[in-house]
């Protein structure tokens, strides 16, 4: 019982240095856990989002751009492909599903995507999960100017079933004005239930309605931006990959989608590594500051330690008290690190959701959330060993003698 009391009172006595050191540990701990979780969850979310489709067929260009545009509703379309191209790929026997999409318009910054009703009836957005409409809604009719709105977009735009809107031309929207508004008036017929995917940020309209919208060049009225594909077997993907990418030079088949996303993450992983390295360095500095702060105060503490020894405390008790104090500072910092972690992750999750539609679960659990705080406590305890050795060697009689 003596040890916790001594540690608590010492922390209380050195409250300012305790708070400063614990604060730096909290920053390091929170930063590292946030970096780790954002990376892990983004990767997981992006990979899970693509599970509905095996490949994307689009104009000749970057596979990554094609995937980002067609599946994640990011980036501009690399170009169009003709209706005939869509019909051709649709009728290849190994192609199980082929759904065309067209982009090029927005509703106050939220992307409008033209597609077929099959997108909502025949496709799994995640294993075992299809799109679903909120009560009171229905799908758009392919030949009408109707819209089904993603859940996040509907909330942000304040849209409900029965509301109407005019789309804006282009993918970008300027809040300060100067946007080119189409004359066509669309009516919202349904709001999608949340999918926690980029689809939540999309305003879906019939493909034909987008192709023939006023102001669009009639020359391209049958073109599509991309075709989302599902194959009957993995072999089919390799066959089509060879056909479009190696033998052809007009179109690009982005296959397999998951590998392309994984490649994206490996390309940007240097950024995670830099952030993680910074966090590791901050953690090391924090542990060093625990060592320095306790070690520097050892001269002042030595008399206290000698008094404790004179009162009967054993050498190993004072050694343990100093190590436990360092570990306690680490534990305080790690605990405060969770507050920093939750705050940081909540902000980052909001930005990621706003920008990509990908949902990062702030309360999700990963082993890093217990491994790292424990590592911080251990690191700080390790930092406490040097001053603890000094405490262990405190000569009682000599330390108390000059004044007594």
């Amino acid at each position: 019982m003596a040890l916790p009391r001594i540690v608590y009172r010492s922390l209380r006595q050195h409250a300012l240095s305790t708070l400063i050191t614990a604060g730096s540990i909290a920053l390091a701990s929170g930063l590292l856990m946030s970096v780790w979780m954002v990376e892990a969850q983004s990767r997981q979310a992006f990979l899970a989002t693509s599970t509905g489709f095996d490949a994307v067929l689009g104009a000749r260009g970057s596979k990554l751009q094609l995937v980002l545009n067609a599946i994640f509703d990011l980036e501009a379309s690399p170009g169009n492909l003709s209706w005939a191209d869509y019909q051709y790929v649709k009728h290849i026997p190994v192609v199980r599903t082929a759904i065309p999409i067209a982009v090029g318009d927005n509703l106050r910054g939220y992307r409008i995507v033209g597609t077929l009703p099959e997108m909502f009836t025949g496709v799994q957005i995640a294993p075992g999960r299809k799109f679903a409409l909120e009560a009171g809604g229905r799908l758009f009719r392919p030949d009408e100017k109707e819209a089904v709105v993603g859940n996040f977009a509907a909330r942000k735009l304040g849209l409900k079933v029965g509301d109407t809107f005019h789309p804006f031309h282009g993918l970008a929207y300027s809040a300060s004005g100067g946007n080119d508004e189409h004359k066509d008036l669309f009516t919202v017929t349904g709001i999608l239930e949340p999918t926690n995917s980029p689809a939540d940020r999309v305003v879906w309209i019939p493909l034909h309605a987008l192709q023939t919208m006023s102001g669009h060049d009639p020359k391209y009225a049958t073109d599509v931006s991309a075709v989302l594909l599902q194959f009957s077997s993995p072999l089919a993907g390799f066959r089509l990959d060879s056909m479009y990418n190696k033998q052809g030079d007009r179109l690009t088949l982005a296959y397999p989608v998951q590998a392309i996303i994984a490649d994206l993450f490996s390309r940007i992983s240097w950024f995670d590594r830099v952030l993680a390295l910074i966090a590791y360095l901050v953690a090391l500095v924090a542990a060093g500051s625990v060592l320095a702060s306790i070690y520097n105060s050892m001269s002042a503490r030595q008399r206290d330690l000698a008094i404790l020894r004179a009162l009967g405390a054993r050498r190993r008790t004072v050694f343990g008290a100093v190590v436990a104090e360092a570990a306690a500072i680490g534990a305080l910092g790690a605990a405060a690190g969770f507050a920093f972690y939750f705050a940081l992750l909540a902000v980052v999750a909001g930005i990621v959701r706003e920008q990509t539609g990908v949902v990062i679960d702030v309360l999700a659990w990963q082993p890093i959330l217990w491994i790292w705080p424990l590592a911080m406590v251990a690191l700080c305890a390790l930092g406490g060993i040097v001053p603890a050795l000094k405490a262990y060697r405190t000569p009682v009689a000599e330390t108390l003698a000059p004044v007594s």
Binding site: M1, A2, H14, L308, L311
Partner: protein, 221 residues
Amino acid sequence: MLAVSGLRKSFATPEGERVAIVDVAGFSLASGEEMALRGESGSGKTTFLNLVAGILRADEGTVEVGGTDLSGLPEARRDRLRAERMGYIFQTFNLLQGHTALENVELGMAFGRGVDRARAAQLLERVGLGHRLGHFPRQLSTGQQQRVAVARALANRPGLVLADEPTGNLDRRNARESLQLIREVCRENGAALLLVSHDEDTLAQFGSVRDFASINRAARK
């Protein structure tokens, strides 16, 4: 309660020569008994008390406290014995500045049989500081700090109380009151008291006083 025999302690000088500081042939002290030793500064009396307390290990001789010979015990056992059976009052009180009066008294039992907060509070009541339990040493007068030190020395119900110049930092009135308190509380608890001082006013309050030099042969050389 205390029996000292053939106790010797020497230290090496910077020149490498060994100089005897303590050379006590022997004496004993029964439970409830008092012994006041007169000694000048530098006569080795603090070293002698540290040997009796087991803080220092003697070169030769024995120190028996309650029948246990400290000289044969390893340091950890001596620490334990000191925590359980001895109380030590220092000239400068040696209170921990980050601890309240109550917490300082609790430290007197923390390394022995365990903390009894009620007893700590009771002891502070006894020394007239019942209203200062939560005060830190810097918030107390010198006399009050001395009383906290007395309460701490008695917290573990010691059989032997060692007092090293316990009134050295007090004015005359406080010194007299403080010494009276130490003796009273020791009597109430049946503890033997071994006090060393160079202050004649302090020593005058004891019926019999021995010169430390008379029992320490090293001081006579």
